[in-house]
């Protein structure tokens, strides 16, 4: 530009002003046009006029450009993005070890998160399939006394009519029997024309209204009329195709347990219950025409459908008001005591059908429930694992940043702004997280079958839903931005001049940050290790603790409903002749899963009208039960066959304690049917329900006919013994195969859900350790590489290998130790909180924490050692010669 021209410039402030509001994409064109115009004006007018016109023109540009952004379609700036992504890709290839560690960590983290969220999503998906789930409720009891609240589902049968007559808001009411009472539960079943009995589970009783309330869809038959006649049954589509392939199932007859008196006519075939329905079953038997229990007992679960306008709270209040008059009258007629207490503390509660499975109220029923706490814990673990993967990324990126400092300097020299650099590094992070999300998806997809077999759930990746792929991409970008933000900020702050003059190094704040992140990773890992250890130990404790009965050598032969009593007796006698059989006893009541359940309330005779009864389990056994099960009598005697033990009972220590019976032998107790019985023995307390709860009071009485035979075997070779028993069975019953269980396996299955939680926890603890180790490995590799020259000089000057090894590992081990110190109290508090719920819990001993901590140190040490040993054994000459 010539000096003469210099004076004839448009006003500087106007140019600056124009730059303020005209977007960068337009400024060159507009400024050029304006300048050309200015020169035209200079020629046409004088200098002052030209400047005046320039300002005027600038002002007139305002409305056009003030809000206009570079949105013009054919001028989108793909170039920069293309460049950013290209550089990101080259960086990934250049540092392929670090890249694969970042990728691997992310992929595993994302896969774990995905599986966990599928799991928790599934838990929340229960019972959402009804047409109007807001109208469906289960009527349950609530007992609330000075802050303590308890819920249970069993109610009186005749309540149904009272509800139908007095609560018009209830459109429909249905009773169900969902526990093994009478034929509910499992049975042997055959078509009437067949003579071979097949074992089936999933029988329950229900009123015909249930089909309507729960929107059961019918394949054959009508849900309005099915189950309205006595001795009718609705079966699932699966079972229908199993028994009546190619035939019309409607009107067919099926016999339960070879007993012609329990022949049911099929009046409907329903779609199978969805896997995520709280109610499961394949055979619904009608309650129509059955002699049910009256106001004596509570044997039913009650489902109701409210009409659309009804208010739940108002209906509950109305129901309680009805209870206080009509129900209490009935109970008074029955001579029930404690009615005032009942009116005061007990009420009804309408539980929404959608919360039956997840069960926040912890209702006592016989259904399988999800656990809110477990879901919450797993969600937390998912977050922790993801955080660990993000920390890896931050660590490796900031550690790698020094290597890239020169690059940043050069970028800045050629004119990149901080914003552009941040964008570049965020792009790198996002590209990485997108790739790892894909890997993570593949990993989750591959491991889903194993995860399903562990968790016992039918989970699938929801590819077919609209939101899944966008959600995954969104998640990937979110993770990328989250993990990339700090490294991007960190790197873009390098000063061009400093880095190019090699005047840079680690800042104090970086070291602190890095140490903090290592501590966080290992603290989280140690908490998970200790958690998994504690749960594992608790499970071992359940399995191995002395229960008060023998479970290893006992098998249960079940399904003898189809044999008459005389045959059963001779079968038992025949078995006892075998040398491998030590003892045998008939009883359906067993201290393991699958045992029958019955409860009765008891009083000592003199307090019958005064107290609330003590609820005790009610077990019908035969005279060999105590010896077969290896239980111990602490007082009195067992039942004897030739004694007239008509009204004799054996109680457990717990019942004697709660009834305040100091010397119970010969004393009488009375039950809610006013039957009196005499205590002849006291059995030592044994665990007959899961050890998650306390041992409850128990009463045994002699009632020798039953469909389950427990056999105690005295032989090392259980398989051979079982084969011999099966041989005897076949001689007695050729219409049905023998079905027998090892009692220790049935015992273990009581803890199935606990065991699942344990396995999953172990799995995820392992994963988080893996991710933390990946990060530590990469970080140590990097640190050692940086100090390799220092180490070589130390070696030349005579440092021993051990010394160098200690120097290199010392820093990391110190961090891990700090992490343990932080983690132990947290783990202790968390685990104590979890174990509080369990009646028979292990103590949290310091050895547990020691083992957990030591394990963490060992794993960390092993991880760092890989590189440290190499550095310590390296030939220093090789490293030093390079310069």
């Amino acid at each position: 530009m010539s000096a003469g021209r210099f004076r004839s410039q448009p006003p500087k402030w106007a140019i600056r002003f124009m730059h303020l509001f005209v977007h960068d994409d337009f400024i060159e064109e507009v400024e050029g046009d304006m300048e050309e115009r200015f020169e035209d004006n200079l020629r046409a007018y004088n200098y002052a006029r030209a400047r005046q016109l320039y300002v005027l023109d600038v002002l007139k540009l305002v409305p056009t450009f003030l809000l206009r952004r570079s949105t013009t379609k054919n001028r989108k700036n793909y170039g920069m993005w293309k460049n950013n992504i290209k550089i990101a890709w080259r960086q990934m290839q250049k540092h392929h070890v670090f890249t694969s560690i970042k990728l691997g960590g992310f992929a595993v983290g994302i896969a774990a998160c995905l599986l966990i969220s599928l799991y928790t999503q599934y838990q929340l998906s229960y019972d959402q399939h009804y047409d109007d789930p807001d109208r469906i409720f289960r009527l349950i009891n609530r007992w609330s006394d000075s802050g303590e609240v308890g819920y249970w589902s069993n109610v009186h049968g005749p309540l149904k009519e009272l509800l139908e007559d007095n609560i018009p808001e209830m459109d429909k009411v249905a009773r169900t029997v969902l526990w093994s009472w009478d034929d509910a539960g499992d049975n042997h079943i055959r078509r009437q024309e067949s003579d071979y009995n097949i074992y089936e589970e999933g029988f329950f009783y229900a009123d015909h209204e249930l089909l309507d309330i729960l929107d059961v869809s019918m394949v054959h038959g009508s849900r309005v009329t099915a189950l309205t006649e006595p001795m009718t049954m609705v079966i699932s589509a699966t079972k229908a195709s199993q028994y009546f392939e190619g035939e019309d199932p409607i009107g067919q007859l099926m016999v339960l347990n070879d007993n012609p008196n329990t022949t049911y006519r099929i009046t409907g075939v329903m779609e199978d219950f969805p896997a995520n329905s709280h109610l499961q079953g394949d055979f619904i038997m009608t309650l129509e025409g059955r002699q049910g229990t009256d106001w004596c007992c509570t044997n039913y679960s009650m489902y109701v459908k409210l009409n659309p306008l009804a208010d739940k709270i108002a209906v509950e209040e109305k129901t309680i008001a009805m209870r206080n008059s009509l129900v209490i009258d009935k109970l008074r007629e029955m001579g029930k005591s404690g009615l005032e207490q009942e009116m005061e503390y007990q009420s009804y509660y309408l539980q929404p059908v959608t919360s039956i499975y997840i069960d926040p109220e912890e209702v006592q029923d016989n259904l399988t429930h999800g656990s809110v706490e477990l879901t919450r814990i797993f969600n937390l673990i998912a977050l922790v694992i993801l955080a660990l993967a993000c920390v890896n990324f931050v660590q490796l990126s900031t550690a790698g940043a020094l290597k890239r400092a020169k690059e940043v300097g050069l970028w800045k020299v050629v004119g990149s702004g901080t914003g552009q650099l941040i964008l570049q590094y965020l792009t790198e992070a996002c590209v990485l997280s997108l790739v790892s999300t894909m890997l993570g998806l593949a990993l989750a997809w591959l491991s889903l079958p194993y995860f399903n077999s562990l968790s016992g759930l039918p989970l699938t990746l929801p590819w077919d839903t609209v939101w899944f792929v966008p959600a995954m991409i969104g998640l990937a970008l979110l993770i990328g931005v989250m993990a990339g933000l700090y490294p991007a900020y960190f790197m873009s702050r390098f000063q061009a001049l400093d880095v190019l003059k090699s005047r840079y190094g680690e800042r104090q704040s970086t070291t602190v940050m890095r140490s903090g992140l290592v501590i966080f990773q290992f603290a989280a890992t140690v908490v998970l290790i200790i958690g998994a250890l504690v749960i594992h130990r608790q499970f071992e404790f359940f399995m191995n603790t002395s229960l008060g009965f023998e479970k290893e050598r006992v098998v249960n032969i079940v399904g003898m409903e189809s044999m008459d009593v005389a045959t059963r007796m001779s079968f038992k006698a025949e078995l006892l002749k075998l040398s491998v059989v030590e003892d045998a006893s008939y009883s359906r009541y067993l201290p393991v899963k699958g045992g029958a359940v019955q409860n009765r309330a008891f009083w000592t005779t003199e307090r019958r009208q005064l107290d609330n009864g003590i609820e005790a389990a009610w077990w019908e056994v035969d005279e060999d039960y105590i010896t077969t099960m290896g239980m111990e009598l602490v007082q009195g005697r067992s039942f004897q066959k030739d004694y007239t033990d008509e009204n004799a009972i054996i109680i457990n220590e717990e019942l004697a304690r709660v009834l305040n019976m100091e010397d119970p032998i010969g004393k009488q107790v009375i039950d809610m049917f006013d039957e009196k019985s005499t205590v002849i023995g006291v059995v030592k307390d044994f665990q007959f329900e899961t050890m998650l709860g306390d041992i409850r009071p128990l009463v045994m009485l002699l009632r020798p006919t039953s469909s389950t035979l427990s056999v105690k075997i005295q032989s090392e070779d259980m398989q051979a013994a079982v084969a011999m028993i099966a041989g005897v069975w076949d001689d007695f019953n050729d219409r049905q195969s023998i079905r027998l269980y090892f009692m220790d396996q049935r015992f273990e299955s009581m803890y199935a859900s606990f065991n699942k939680a344990r396995t999953l926890l172990l799995l995820f603890a392992g994963l988080s350790i893996f991710i933390a180790c990946l990060g530590l490995f990469a970080l140590s590799t990097f640190m050692i590489e940086q100090r390799s020259k220092e180490m070589s000089i130390r070696k030349v000057l005579g440092a021993s290998m051990q010394r160098i090894f200690l120097l290199l590992t010392g820093d990391f081990v110190r961090l891990v130790l700090i992490a343990i110190v932080i983690a132990v109290p947290i783990a202790w508090m968390v685990m104590d909180e979890i174990l509080k719920e369990i009646a028979y819990r292990i103590d949290l001993t310091w050895t547990l924490f020691l083992v957990g901590g030591a394990l963490a140190v060992l794993i960390a040490l092993a991880t760092i050692s890989v590189e440290s040993v190499r550095a310590a054994t390296d030939n220093p000459a090789g490293r030093l010669r390079s310069e």
Binding site: M1, V30, D33, M34, K60, T72, N74
Partner: protein, 110 residues
């Protein structure tokens, strides 16, 4: 769908762009139009029309050469798209029909 339309001033700018061909950049368009219309136009008016039509896909643009006259800044050369030409033709025929109708009924105007 609403038909994308041309305003009266935009139509003038568009025809100028097509007339000027390789020389169709901001200043040249402005000079040309000022000569035709015999009045001063503001830069803002020209730019608004150009940017609006670019957004409506009637115009595309690309950088031209830089020249010393413009302080080293590049020109932006505009070019009409086929849609723009089509829109102009439609406008013309609508005008012709209307003119025809108008003059037949009012012969004294013609």
């Amino acid at each position: 769908m609403k038909k994308t339309r041309l305003g009266e001033f935009q139509e003038l700018v568009l025809m100028t762009v097509i007339t000027l061909r390789e020389e169709a950049y901001g200043n040249e368009i402005q000079r040309h139009l000022e000569d035709r219309l015999g009045e001063r136009l503001s830069m803002g008016a020209i730019q608004a029309a150009l940017k609006r039509m670019e957004e409506k896909d009637f115009l595309t643009s690309d950088w031209g050469e830089a020249s010393q006259k413009r302080g080293g800044k590049r020109k932006r050369i505009y070019q009409a798209t086929p849609e723009a030409v089509l829109a102009l033709k439609q406008m013309k025929s609508i005008r012709a029909e209307l003119w025809e109708a108008m003059t037949t009924l009012n012969p004294n105007i013609a």
